[in-house]
Amino acid sequence: MRLVVDLNKCQGYAQCAFLAPDVFAMHGEESLLYDARPEEEQRERVARAVAACPVQAITADGLDRAGESQGASDVR
């Protein structure tokens, strides 16, 4: 899967690094590093990270609930 983080939005709350530590890592107190192409097995964790981001800065493809405009029918 592919993902990108809008680091203009990111304020270093680190929720993603807690929830998907193999994909997102804090570098210092506030900087975020991430793997832009995590393995499929990380999908569930990435979904948690996307949902938990307090500033909604993470875009990932192939996540049902990641989009802006999905209706109930899209959810899994």
Binding site: D6, L7, C10, G28, E29, A36, D61
Partner: protein, 463 residues
């Protein structure tokens, strides 16, 4: 344009996007999201689908991501014809045709120019060809540099201490490599953030073991008989042995292919109006050619309507969305591109973020925290107004200062703030270099008031 005509364009028009990176992709997605149902063609000189560049100098060098695997996620299906690995070489405005390097021609009803920038190469071609002399812009560059750094060179030499150069130096230190960095100004990041903040960046680099050399230029790169770089010669006559040299001298806008097209395009980019429509060389706005991303220079209401060139990730996204929207809308439905300049960087474990246009500020006030602790908020002022702010590990306050800029709040900052130190009570000169001297990768360039201007650097008058 009649409503009928626009309806037809949306239904069966031909839109061509030149530049298949962040801006090009986001524009394509926006076109489809807003109902464009016609032919969509994306032309890109690199043979890859759109990928993200910021991780290349950060996550990729640090081994957190593969440099070859940063393709951008898609927000939606775009159903486009991709012409990848083929550069655009010319534009015929009258015939509405883009010429390609393979001789092909593509016709359009609407064109979006999003060709971005490329790394400024080392100015001596022969030296630039030495094995071990690198730049960092594309994913191939990043893969090449990563491989060389992994091989454990004895010393890396970074030419130019802008953001990209400093990020590379930071990654090298993290990998335990010896690294030297040379900068013409008195400190890193001076062009982007001024000398006061630059001094903090200098301390950071030095403390992390970077051999930082300021007020010097690199005069020559020396190779060995096998054609490998082995030493760097500096203007102070010193010589530093190095087996990897990273040339980080900012970027060049990809506008050469537009030479002779009649567009107002040059080394400073392609001028466009607030609605992203390109100007021709006479300063008259076109109505079927649009511009977005790093290659654009457009006027901004918050900064005295000067043309700004922004090498910012967020600008590429926002301008692409606005350009795409305006390409398939008429008059009153069009939107201006009023994005607040913003960028981030990360080096030596410190998160650096900024909003507004720091180089416009002649004064700086540290309103929160302290320079010595490397945790602070700095506010830049120009002619009695707040025009920019920078944070070191203090990003959560930044949106407050963004609103101050939007409101044109008075400068010096007249209210108290939490964690104000004695050093923050008075503004100090921000310490930007003489505007007539070029600096490395300022990332925001103010370029005057005329769409047809081709001069290199314009800075606001200093009174």
């Amino acid at each position: 344009m009649s409503a009928d005509h626009m309806e037809r364009l949306r239904r069966e028009g031909r839109i061509v996007i030149v530049g298949a990176s962040l801006a090009g992709l986001r524009a394509a997605e926006t076109l489809r999201a807003e109902g464009f149902a016609g032919d969509l063609t994306l032309i890109g000189d690199e043979p890859h689908e759109p990928y993200d560049r910021p991780p290349l100098s950060k996550s990729a060098l640090l081994g957190m991501a593969s440099p070859l695997r940063t393709e951008l996620p898609r927000r939606r299906e775009i159903d486009a014809k991709w012409r990848l690995g083929v550069a655009a070489t010319g534009l015929d405005l009258a015939a509405k045709r883009v010429r390609l390097a393979d001789g092909d021609e593509v016709e359009y009803d609407r064109l979006l120019i999003a060709t971005g920038v490329r790394a400024r190469p080392w100015f001596k071609e022969e030296e630039a060809r030495l094995d071990g002399v690198c730049v960092l812009r594309t994913r191939q560059d990043a893969a090449d540099l990563t491989r060389r750094l992994r091989a454990g060179p004895r010393r890396v030499f970074v030419v130019g201490a802008g953001f990209a150069g400093s990020e590379v130096a930071s990654a090298c230190r993290e990998m335990g490599l010896q690294v030297s960095m040379a900068e013409r100004a008195g400190a890193p990041l001076v062009g982007a953030l001024g000398g006061v903040v630059g001094a903090v960046a200098a301390d950071l680099a030095t403390e992390h073991g970077v051999d930082l050399r300021t007020h010097v230029t690199v005069t020559a790169l020396e190779g060995d008989p096998a054609g490998r770089v082995r030493a760097v010669h500096l203007s102070d006559e010193s010589v530093v042995e190095a087996d990897v040299v990273v040339v980080s001298l900012g970027s060049l806008r990809n506008t050469e292919w537009l030479a002779g097209s009649g567009l107002g395009a040059g080394p400073r980019g392609v001028a466009c109006d607030a609605g992203c429509r390109a100007f021709d060389f006479r300063g008259i706005v076109t109505d079927d050619v649009f511009v977005a991303g790093d290659v654009a220079r457009s006027p901004h209401a918050l900064f005295g309507y000067q043309f700004l060139s922004l090498e910012h990730w967020g600008n590429a996204v926002a301008q692409a969305e606005t350009a795409a929207h305006n390409m398939i809308c008429d008059g009153a439905d069009r939107r201006p591109h009023l994005w607040m300049p913003a960028f981030w960087s990360s080096m030596f474990g410190v998160n650096i973020k900024s909003v507004g246009v720091p180089p416009m500020g002649e004064q700086l006030m540290i309103t929160q925290g302290s320079l010595a602790e490397r945790r602070f908020v700095g506010v830049y002022g120009h002619q009695g107004r707040v025009v920019a702010a920078v944070t070191f590990d203090n990003a959560r306050w930044l949106e407050f200062y963004q609103r101050q800029i939007e409101r044109g709040a008075p400068f010096p900052v007249e209210f108290p703030t939490l964690d104000r130190r004695p050093e923050g009570r008075q503004p100090v000169p921000a310490g930007f270099p003489d505007p007539s001297l070029p600096t490395h990768g300022p990332m925001v360039t103010l370029s005057g008031y005329s769409p047809a201007d081709q001069q290199l650097v314009f800075h606001p008058a200093r009174h």
